[in-house]
Subunit: 217 residues, 2 copies
């Protein structure tokens, strides 16, 4: 891996639409920092399992957490770690072509492969848990009660080092066949985005909306 | 499986938050019909792979499609099919508690396990391809040039019968510990939703915006 680009491997080199792929660290990190959840893939009894879960990135490390009793986190606690695939996807638009075949989706996605390992170092654990809170709402970890010993004992955090990772992006208009261009169908792009509504305070809340939520988008 | 509920199995029974799970057909179908993409998990060379892809539901069948040359679709073309896990997730809110530990996410997700099989029957293939176009934009398949023989030959469609499937939902406020309620932090829910922007016509488009896109939300 160079300073700016992750190394390509066979499984991070797509078989199709190779021009949509990138291994650039900055582009990959930007996508990882933009989604709320990842999809964590692992194997259980010889079959694939894909679960949605929150995550956070700290430098070249991805963190996922859960109960110490949960299946994937138990697997990652083993000495040899656990093979995983972590995928993050954002949908940006529906691309409606004149032919069914050329319909597409504008999207940004990251796929990371590797061996997940349980975090045991208390300092790394504290950094990861703060990052998991800050991932969706930057600044939040400084405005909460941090985990106590009992909560720490109930929480398992797993680390995946970003190494074998790539991004794929489609951000373009309609790509119809020349022969279809005059067909009398509507073609174009329907933008899709994720938005936040007005924060709804819990009945126990006695303080005003913090700055990090006022400017939140 | 009864008429209204999918049968529970060990892997569709969560180890935690069991009250958030459901096996009800109607609830599961509603979630499947609300997202644009699924995350398809399969195994390649002994390791899990998770790829985002569009999909469609027709009754109790999920369809995923891709190039005939793509890795997962080649796997599903084998006689014995391919073990997969298909997961669909919608994020509805960020739940900010007074403790870091009780932070959560409001979400709806479906996880389906099974053996994916390639669709070879031409009639089923045609239904599946229409459904894939209609999934994101209902009504669209009647307003496009449908696939020709060459396009059909280049497209592989894979079927996963919904059988071992469950949904999980969190749709609730903050659940803080009693002892934390008086802490001077803001607690509450930030709603999250997916919205469509104004459709942007391609330069080749000569017809007005169709009704199914005017009322699109």
């Amino acid at each position: 891996m160079s300073d700016t680009t992750y190394a390509r491997t066979e499984r991070t080199t797509p078989t199709r639409y190779r021009d949509r792929a990138t291994w650039e660290r900055e582009a990959i990190h930007a996508i990882l920092d933009s989604a709320y959840i990842c999809h964590l893939g692992f194997m259980a009894n010889g079959a694939p399992v894909v679960l949605p879960t929150i995550y956070a990135r700290v430098g070249d490390r991805l963190y996922v957490h859960g109960s110490t009793g949960s299946r994937p986190l138990r697997g990652a606690g083993a000495d040899q770690g656990m093979p995983v695939c972590v995928t993050v996807t954002l949908v940006d638009g529906l691309v409606l072509a004149k032919s069914a075949f050329n319909h597409s989706v504008n999207f940004r996605s990251v796929v990371a492969h590797g061996i997940a390992q349980q975090v045991t170092d208390p300092e790394e654990l504290a950094v990861a848990l703060d990052a998991l809170v800050d991932h969706s709402v930057p600044g939040r970890s400084g405005d909460v009660r941090r985990p106590n010993a009992k909560e720490l004992a109930a929480t398992a955090v797993v680390r995946l080092v970003l190494d074998e990772v790539s991004a794929k992006t489609r951000d373009d208009g309609v790509d119809d066949d020349e022969a279809d261009l005059e067909l009398p169908y509507w073609a174009g792009v329907v933008p899709v985005s994720t938005v936040h509504g007005t924060p709804v305070p819990d009945a126990s809340t006695t303080v005003p909306l913090p700055a990090y939520l006022r400017d939140f988008r």
